[in-house]
């Protein structure tokens, strides 16, 4: 990694400049992560008095535990659902806005602000709309003969949290898709139009393939978002229920460790999550290197 050709001399100054960032990183990031690794190898007795070294037993138990495997599959459904829904809606909106000349910036402004809403608030908003007793959507669904109840039905609850998570993320995906489309040379599209390709044909044969770097990047970002940033949505609405139907991994770490006080198991879950984040970060960075050359 390069520096400037000419640099400042100084023995202690650079360390002093780095000190605040490094100290905070060590105390609040590296040390706790090390603790999580260490605790994942221990098991505490029921009173928290003694802990014994159990090796990888905590991990083995997790993968035999039905509720953890359930949480894994719930997370996959939630992440895939949120990613697909928010990306397809964003792609539709971005390609439509991109046609506009005069109204483009107005529509953009009207579509980007949900980014600012906290996930927990997005959850509360949708929870309220879908509230079985006073919400407006269950009222309308009842007229077509569907009894909505996210307090009993696991699939209703899952649909609700996916809607809330996707709603908040559409604006982010929209901005990146729009930026991606604007970097596609106009001449390509004009050439296709002269050859008689319809707008839909042009989209699928020119725009969509050229957007693939953006699409791939957004897929990774959306999966990370759905896995880690949606804690607030789950906690403020379903709290993992009903019957664990929305108990995603991040929520389970919190519930098992902070509420259930099962430290060894929670630490092992943290370690698994860290491995997932590291894998996703590596994928993202390898891809970015390719995008620079693209």
């Amino acid at each position: 990694m390069q520096t400037k050709r000419m640099t400042f001399p100084g023995r202690w100054l650079p360390f002093a400049l780095l000190a605040p960032q490094v100290i905070i990183t060590l105390i609040f990031f590296i040390w706790p992560a090390g603790q999580a690794l260490y605790q994942s190898l221990l098991r505490e007795d029921a009173f928290g008095l003694r802990s014994t070294f159990v090796g990888l037993e905590n991990f083995a138990r997790l993968f035999r535990d039905g509720s953890y495997l359930n949480s894994l599959s719930v997370t996959v459904v939630f992440a895939v659902g949120t990613t697909l829904l928010s990306m397809s809606v964003a792609l539709l909106l971005a390609s439509t806005v991109n046609r506009m000349l005069r109204s483009r910036s107005t529509y953009t402004t009207l579509l980007v602000w949900p980014y600012a809403i906290a996930p927990a608030l997005a959850g509360v908003l949708w929870w309220f709309i879908f509230n079985p007793s006073i919400g407006i959507v269950p009222y309308m669904l009842e007229m077509v003969g569907y009894q909505w109840n996210h307090r009993n039905s696991g699939s209703d609850a899952m649909l609700l949290v996916i809607l809330a998570a996707a709603w908040k993320q559409v604006s982010y995906n929209f901005l990146f898709f729009l930026a991606g489309m604007q970097s596609i040379p106009q001449s390509l599209i004009e050439a296709a139009a002269i050859d008689g390709a319809s707008p839909i044909k042009r989209f699928w044969t020119i725009v969509f393939p050229l957007l693939s770097p953006t699409t791939f990047f957004l897929m990774v970002v959306n999966v990370v978002y759905a896995m880690f940033d949606t804690f607030g949505i789950i906690h403020a609405t379903t709290e993992g229920g009903p019957a664990q139907a929305t108990n995603i991994l991040v929520y389970k770490v919190y519930a098992d460790g902070f509420v259930g006080l099962n430290l060894g198991s929670s630490a092992a879950q943290s370690v698994i999550l860290m491995v997932i984040v590291v894998a996703l970060t590596v994928i993202q960075f390898r891809f970015i290197e390719r995008r620079v050359n693209y």
């Binding site: 520096t3 400037k4 000419m6 640099t7 400042f8 100084g10 650079p14 400049l17 605040p20 490094v22 905070i24 990183t25 105390i27 990031f29 590296i30 992560a33 603790q35 999580a36 605790q39 909106l93 439509t96 046609r99 506009m100 009207l110 579509l111 980007v112 602000w113 949900p114 980014y115 600012a116 809403i117 906290a118 927990a120 608030l121 509360v124 908003l125 929870w127 309220f128 006073i134 919400g135 407006i136 009222y139 709603w167 559409v170 901005l175 599209i189 004009e190 139009a193 804690f231 607030g232 906690h235 403020a236 919190y254 902070f258 430290l263 630490a267 999550l273 860290m274 984040v277 970060t281």
Partner: protein
């Protein structure tokens, strides 16, 4: 646009208007709910037009909060959120500028090591190390304080990378000229580098402020004292009551969403710049 197709334009506007309506819908419902009388919401279905109790509900929420619990007033919670968001934002910008400056403008031992150490924080979001981090904060007796709310969150790999990227594009001649004129490192940093970085700082400020304002899990763990309740967390507490008072909760939701939404609307260009550059 390449060709003129009136029907396609009409269709496009229809799609966009439906899209905007869907995006606005939940917030519209929140505004409607926040202007109703308390019993209006218990009657069964929510009216579709705003009621006439808006001022009353917002004043009550702002001044005293939900009366049935010991939940604090919205004014206090908004203030707490603001202090936390500002502390996180300013802290992140400050330490990231300093560390990017050290990494780009100095040669020293273990430079790469420190760079990677900062990089690793990207891979350790709070969510994956909840309990050990809580223990550290508790051991340092930083629970229930603004320091505990903000300091553990101000390490920032993304901001450091962004500033490093930007500093690398600053012409070498700047530094040479400054050194010929006898400027020391801190003078160069303060008088040349900082003024050049103003746009980048502003763009990051917008993103980081939203990030700080919307913190949820961290305040939930660190604060138990109602005096430190932030607005996002306070709303969750109100909704988990036996009989949630939706007209007041929705008033609080609107007040909680307003500051970051206004930041985006009025600083849209900086926001887009910050968003697209931090993710590069």
């Amino acid at each position: 646009m390449v060709e003129n197709r009136p029907w396609a334009n009409g269709f496009a506007h229809t799609v966009l208007i439906i899209g905007v309506a869907l995006v606005v819908f939940p917030v519209y419902i929140a505004i409607v709910a926040s202007t109703q009388a308390p019993d209006e919401l218990l009657r069964g279905t929510l009216p579709l037009l705003p009621g006439s109790h808006g001022i009353e509900n917002y004043t009550q929420m702002w001044l005293s909060g939900v009366s049935s619990t010991n939940s604090p007033s919205a004014a206090l919670m908004l203030w707490n959120s603001f202090v936390m968001a500002m502390a996180i934002t300013v802290g992140k910008l400050f330490i990231s500028l300093l560390s990017a400056f050290a990494i780009v403008y100095f040669r020293f031992r273990f430079r790469m090591f420190f760079f990677w150490l900062i990089f690793v924080t990207l891979m350790l979001p709070v969510e994956v190390r909840i309990i050990p981090t809580y223990q550290v904060v508790a051991d340092l007796s930083m629970l229930n304080s603004f320091a505990g709310l903000s300091i553990p969150l101000i390490a920032s790999a993304t901001a450091t990378f962004l500033f490093r990227q930007f500093f690398m594009t600053v012409p070498e001649e700047m530094l040479e000229a400054a050194r010929v004129d006898g400027a020391g490192p801190m003078t160069f940093f303060k008088d040349i580098l900082l003024p050049l970085s103003v746009t980048n700082i502003a763009a990051l400020f917008v993103i980081m402020f939203i990030y700080g304002w919307n913190q949820y899990l961290w305040p939930l763990l660190i604060t138990t004292d109602p005096d430190y309740t932030t607005i996002v967390m306070g709303i969750q507490r109100m909704t988990s009551e036996e009989n949630p008072q939706w007209h007041l909760i929705m008033a609080a939701v609107v007040m909680a969403a307003l500051p970051p939404v206004l930041v985006i609307l009025f600083m849209q260009r900086l926001f887009v710049k910050g968003l697209t550059e931090t993710e590069k």
